[in-house]
């Protein structure tokens, strides 16, 4: 699956860069929206067929929050550590990490701070999403089901959800959606908070 995912994204990038005229861009938005809705519909059917999933999730209760909390802490600390290697101050690297893969919003939130950091947030979170799409099946296979939500971040509720659902099980798919929702709400709160840190 990972190989097919890489192939699809790469083929898309090449076709988009070399073959298609720029105005196509405006149409891709609606295609992605419709495609995603159809896909989520089938993911829903898949989850619904698994009758025990609701009971399992109910049993978890507030423990379900552990996953988004760990992703928030992990993403920020991770980008702080990564920032040390590429000479970025903590407020800049941390804010970029707090995009949790939602590239359009994190770039917008940082655009008034600096164009360069905004561009870096954009590209870094695009890369996060691409790595997520590729690594989720591998992490699910070799490390664990809930661990595979880690790379997805905020995209755990949309673009990464079908892959997580396919690579794991209905219970993890539900945790993934909840995680994605919480992280998506967290992005516009945490990014401005961290960029204004005095260090």
């Amino acid at each position: 699956m990972s190989f097919k995912i890489i192939l699809s994204v790469t083929a898309g990038i090449l076709v988009g860069y070399f073959l298609l005229p720029e105005y196509i861009f405006d149409y891709t938005d609606i295609i992605i929206d419709i495609g995603l809705c159809i896909l989520l519909f089938f993911v829903g059917i898949d989850i619904g067929r698994n009758k025990t999933v609701l009971i399992k999730i109910k049993k978890m209760g507030l423990k379900i929050l552990l996953i988004p909390i760990m992703i928030i802490i992990g993403s920020i600390i991770g980008s702080w550590v990564g920032g040390l290697f590429v000479n970025l101050p903590f407020n800049e690297s941390g804010a970029i990490g707090a995009g949790f893969g939602w590239y359009s919003l994190s770039a917008m939130l940082l655009s008034s701070y600096s164009t360069e950091i905004s561009a870096l947030a954009f590209i870094s979170n695009v890369i996060r999403e691409v790595i997520a799409l590729i690594s989720i099946p591998i992490i699910a296979k070799y490390i664990g089901d809930v661990e595979s939500i880690g790379p997805a971040g905020a995209t755990a509720m949309d673009t990464s959800l079908p892959i997580i659902s396919k690579s794991t099980n209905a219970k993890t798919a539900v945790i993934s959606f909840v995680t994605g929702v919480i992280l998506s709400i967290a992005v516009p709160i945490i990014v401005p908070l961290i960029i204004n840190l005095p260090f």
């Binding site: 699956m1 699809s8 994204v9 898309g12 988009g16 860069y17 070399f18 196509i24 861009f25 891709t28 295609i31 992605i32 495609g35 995603l36 159809i38 896909l39 989520l40 519909f41 993911v43 059917i45 898949d46 989850i47 619904g48 067929r49 698994n50 009758k51 379900i64 552990l66 996953i67 992703i71 802490i73 992990g74 993403s75 600390i77 991770g78 980008s79 550590v81 990564g82 590429v86 690297s93 561009a119 870096l120 954009f122 590209i123 979170n125 695009v126 890369i127 996060r128 790595i131 664990g144 809930v146 661990e147 880690g150 790379p151 971040g153 079908p162 892959i163 396919k166 945790i175 959606f177």
Partner: protein
Amino acid sequence: MAVRLLLYLAILLVGGFIGFKELANKKIISKLDHIQSGSLLFLLFIMGIRIGLDDKVISSFLKLGVQALVLSVFSIVFSVLLIKLVSKYI
């Protein structure tokens, strides 16, 4: 953003209800896996097209790629490691 969230939730719930009540055609259920893979790969292809069409992304990728890659890889690795710490409680 809020509208989108509700839309996704509504679609998942409708799908979930159909799956739970077994309202869907058996033929469709047996092809669920293929339908999901197919539409997923198509969606990723379109996402790739978006990246390829955006000159800003391509040019900033060449300029900022290394920095961006380091930040995203560390974010992902730490996220997965921290989840691993708590996954036995899930």
